[in-house]
């Protein structure tokens, strides 16, 4: 019997997701024996050309990490989609845009100006900026074109399954791989992680009083957090109530609040909005001034609420409006 073909590929990733695959240790050897790895740029020397030569759906599973920010990443995503039966969005970047998605708070022009002109370490007297196409000695040279913003993988191609995390923990990778190899997959579109919120499994949950209330917001580096008490009761923002469980509580265990890398819980589109509703309910203040006073202590809300998910946030998806719609009303 021929072995199923599997591809592992990074787009705009940091390498952490590929490292996480390596971290399944000797299980990786068993996986490597059971499948035919046809592409894994970070570890093996295969060429995109050989993938291009494959038939449609010849690859059983493509594991894709990283966001899509340029034309090359988009091209590879589209190529793998065409050649694969299943595409797994692997890690927060592929699922939701990830931390690089915070770059959407600046325009492409801002980013180019900073990187090639304004940053203090830049020496660029002739003001050269990278060009997608340039001519040198009569030859045409090309570079991938940077897109206007960061996209999650499913903004660009159809995705069959999602494995969240930054990066996904080893046991969830093994679970996902065996589900594919043993054909025990949940319905298409599923996220391969528990449906409930992190709070449901968090040990600190028992420390919560019956009625939670906070009167000030503190940042984790400003206080010595009690390692056993719920962060929210200490006034420290913890995204646990709005974040999917399944991370293995790596952050909790080192006394860091949840920052949301597993994305929203099942059925919730925008984890930031969900958290806002939760947070509103525990704010203990009456007058507008009091409420505003506490909320003013919430530094960098967009960074906190969408650290891993800005490209997938509702505010990012604001429908472009035709400015000439004045006749409509």
């Amino acid at each position: 019997m021929t072995k199923p073909k599997v591809a592992i590929c990074w787009l705009g990733g940091c390498g952490g997701c590929d490292e996480a695959v390596v971290d399944i240790n000797e299980v990786l050897l068993r996986v490597a024996a059971a499948v035919d790895l046809v592409l894994w740029p970070v570890a093996l020397d295969y060429k995109y050309e050989s993938v291009k030569a494959m038939k449609k759906d010849e690859i059983v599973l493509s594991v894709v990490n990283g966001h899509v920010r340029n034309s090359e990443q988009q091209e590879i995503a589209e190529l793998l989609r065409e050649k694969s039966q299943l595409v797994l969005a692997f890690g927060a970047c592929a699922c939701l845009g990830g931390t690089p998605g915070l770059a959407n708070l600046a325009t492409k022009q801002d980013i180019f100006d900073w990187v090639y002109r304004d940053a203090p370490t830049v020496v660029n007297p002739n003001g050269h900026y990278p060009q997608a196409v340039s001519r040198v000695n009569g030859k045409e040279l090309t570079l991938p074109e940077l897109h206007g913003r960061v996209y999650a993988l499913d903004d660009v191609i159809d995705v069959d399954y999602y494995l969240p995390g930054c990066p996904p923990p080893a046991y969830s990778i093994m679970y996902a791989l065996s589900a594919v190899l043993e054909n025990k997959l949940p319905p298409k579109g599923s996220t391969l992680a528990p449906h409930r919120a992190l709070c449901d499994s968090c040990k600190r949950n028992q420390s919560k009083p019956d009625r939670m209330s906070i009167r000030e917001i503190k940042r984790i580096h400003e206080v010595e957090a009690d390692p056993d008490a719920c962060f929210l009761t200490q006034g420290i923002i913890c995204l646990g109530p709005a974040t999917r469980d399944g991370c293995g509580e790596a952050c909790m265990n080192i006394n860091m609040p949840c920052r949301g890398c597993f994305g929203p819980v099942e059925g919730v589109e925008d984890g930031g909005a969900k958290f806002i509703s939760t947070m509103a309910s525990i704010l203990d203040a009456e007058s507008n001034e009091e409420v505003a006073g506490i909320i003013d202590q919430f530094i960098d809300p967009v960074g906190y609420l969408y650290r891993f998910s800005l490209p997938a946030a509702m505010l990012q998806k604001r429908r472009a409006r035709n400015r000439v719609d004045t006749k409509e009303v």
Binding site: H147, A280, L315, K317
Partner: protein, 148 residues
Amino acid sequence: MSEYKPKLVCFSCKFSWGYLTDEETISSTTENWVPVICTGKIDATHMLDAFRSGADGVLILGCPEGDCHYQDGNYEAKKRVHLIRRLLESVGIEGERIRIELSLDPEGTRIPDLVEEMRNELARLGPPKSILAAEEAPQETARARGGK
């Protein structure tokens, strides 16, 4: 740009706003009016969804302070509005694009007036300018441009 007509979504609580007037009458004068059973039912998701769908502003009309039929729905809504404001401001959208008014108006006659008043304020502000990077780029696919 002087022709710019802002879009507004108005949620109002059925227990204090317009319950003596039939809904069709109010709807006919007020576009995008959404009567709800309690302002406490308006989740932050609904508020953001209005902006995503193209609203330039959101107006929420709830029961007077301390007078919520369900105890504290209006109070919860008020706190959500404050938080959403802070979020909007952090992406460069003016906080005053979302407002909550806690008061009583059984006939609902003030609903169109309040909507008109806020619409005028929004017209002064012009269209929202979010700092979230624009989507246009020549090589992007139609799928990427249209979102999910």
